[in-house]
Amino acid sequence: MKVLVAVKRVIDYNVKVRVKPDNTGVDLANVKMAMNPFCEIAVEEAVRLKEKGVATEIVVVSIGPKAAQEQIRTALALGADRGIHIETDEEVQSLQAAKLLKAVVDKEEPKLVILGKQSIDTDNNQTGQMLAALAGMPQGTFASEVVVDGDKVNVTREVDGGLVTVQLNLPAVVTTDLRLNEPRYASLPNIMKAKKKPLDTQSPADLGVDLTPRLTTLKVEAPQTRKAGIKVGSVEELVDKLKNEAKVI
């Protein structure tokens, strides 16, 4: 069974981002980039499926600038077999990403597509769902467990108040939640081997997708800084402040 995994290059989660002075976005200059953590979980799940003998080939796809090849190489070092890079320097919104992935799905015909539930840059949580709709495939989002069973896949989903398990017919789209697995790090020999794995580059035009944005960002602002707290001397004072100042009780 062929598994397609989508990975995205985003700002490393350790970086404290700064909003650009003109409020048009986040400052990306000289900022450390990395694979979106949810995408790492997606790669890990695919690799585990391969180790179990369920998956036979893992294809990893990334959309983005030339440098996104680093994230593809990382996925190859983790165990993916080959990469597809859809190269563009344009902004790619969720719908356009989903259309590009749909074009790849049409070509590759994977049985399972695994994506992160969201990417930590814009936190849209849409691409997997849009892809499923465009491709006419069932979706299992926010997966905390994925079990392939013949031509079906059972996906346990994390929802408010508990877990829901859905059974999907393959081919299907799965998006990963944080607790699905703990991703491994690549070993050095595998990093070396990944350099020799095939990586195919395409353009959005090759796939017939128009990247014109459908949404316009008006303004990006930093969250308000929290005001310093105060120490209270007694329970009475606390209750008084909650009642009369914060007015929450």
Partner: protein, 381 residues
């Protein structure tokens, strides 16, 4: 790779991998290991499995391949982010012990020893220094006398990193006359009759590494364990030193870098006299001096590595790098403790450890004075 950048995409991936290795396997335990004076043997195994021990060694022994010094530097920098020079020295003792074996040992010996060490199943140490002297290598006294198909070795070694736990020791011995022309390298294995390991030495820093004295009392070592030609050991030892000194420079600027980072963070939040400590001009200038030291030490070390990568033999430059970087490291770690005030003297703050760990760097691998002697000679003085 643009020509102002030493690191490639592969290096960055290896760096990322090493960073994760440190975060997962080392950082959660490092304070305990420092206090215990040892890290678990299992860590060699884990590092071996991740491919971290095999960097720079031939693939046929399980290594990553030779000739990529910046890969080694990228990974070493990340390992040093464990904040423990001792751990890095202990885990890395193979890097001073193995190169002569890889290059000059008999194939049977090499093939038996090297893969196990790179996989982390066995530990290797280098034993040159003796109780009577370490700087003057040419005058070492441990004797090895040929007796049929064995050598009989008598003498002792001291301050040997990984000396307690090692399985294999690359030992410098005297097989010939006085002076550097009478020195050979012998592989001596743990358990060889007549070889015993002394007590674990208590140290100022590098707590997480085991450092030992070794005793050879008419120890019978198979003659096939001779590394290279008899009486040609001095050149092998000197060749080995170049890389060791480069790596000690890396250790020095990284130790300083960590101290600088901790100081930046601390002084930005610590308040005195109604403002942050970083708010005083005198502090800012101190932090600038520290950053300057770190940057210069790092960039000059990279330059040396680039020369080595180009197969030059930059003896003078590497000696200068080691001296500059280790002294910069001492300045920076001292100021880091100072900027932390009383907290800098407490074991719970990382700068306290970095300050202690800094001191060895100007002694091991050849002291600052010996580096100056080398440089003077290279300058024709």
């Amino acid at each position: 790779m643009s020509n102002t950048e030493y690191f490639s995409e592969t290096h960055n991936q290896a760096r990322e991998m090493a960073r994760r290795f440190v975060a997962r396997h080392i950082l959660p335990h490092i304070d305990d290991w420092e206090e215990q004076g040892e890290f678990p043997r299992e860590l060699y195994h884990q590092a071996g499995e991740a491919g971290l021990l095999g960097i720079g060694y031939p693939e046929k022994f399980g290594g990553s391949g030779e000739g990529d010094l910046f890969l080694k530097i990228a990974v070493s920098e990340e390992l040093l982010r464990s904040t423990s020079g001792g751990l890095v020295a202990g885990l890395g003792s193979l890097d001073i012990a193995l190169p002569p074996i890889v290059q000059w040992a008999r194939p049977e010996v090499r093939d038996r020893v090297v893969p196990d060490v790179l996989a982390g199943r066995k530990i290797a140490a280098l034993a040159v220094t003796e109780p009577d002297g370490g700087s003057d290598v040419a005058r070492l006294k441990t004797r090895a006398v040929r007796d049929g198909d064995h050598y009989r070795v008598s003498g002792s070694k001291t301050f040997i990193t990984s000396g307690i736990r090692a399985d294999y020791y690359t030992v410098a011995v005297r097989t010939g006359d006085e002076g550097h022309g009478g020195i050979s390298l012998l592989l001596i294995e743990k358990g060889t009759p007549g070889f015993s390991v002394g007590r674990k030495l208590n140290k100022m820093g590098w707590w997480a590494s085991d450092t030992a004295e070794l005793f050879f009392d008419d120890c019978r070592v198979p003659a096939e364990n001779l590394i290279g030609q008899e009486n040609a050991g001095f050149i092998a030892i000197m060749a080995n030193f170049l890389r060791e000194r480069l790596m000690l420079s890396v250790m020095a600027y990284m130790t300083a870098e960590l101290a600088l980072e901790a100081s930046l963070e601390y002084t930005r939040s610590r308040k005195a006299f109604g403002r942050t400590v970083a708010g005083f001009q005198v502090t800012r200038h101190k932090l600038v001096d520290m950053a300057t030291d770190v940057d210069l030490a790092r960039e000059y070390t990279y330059r040396c590595a680039a020369l080595m990568q180009a197969r030059k033999n930059p003896i003078r430059q590497v000696a200068m790098a080691k001296n500059f970087a280790t002294e910069a490291c001492e300045r920076v770690t001292r100021e880091a403790v100072q900027l932390h005030g009383g907290m800098g003297y407490m074991r719970e703050s990382v700068v306290e450890r970095l300050y202690r760990d800094a001191r060895i760097l100007a002694i091991g691998g050849g002291t600052t004075e010996i580096m100056k002697e080398l440089i003077a000679k290279q300058m024709g003085l």
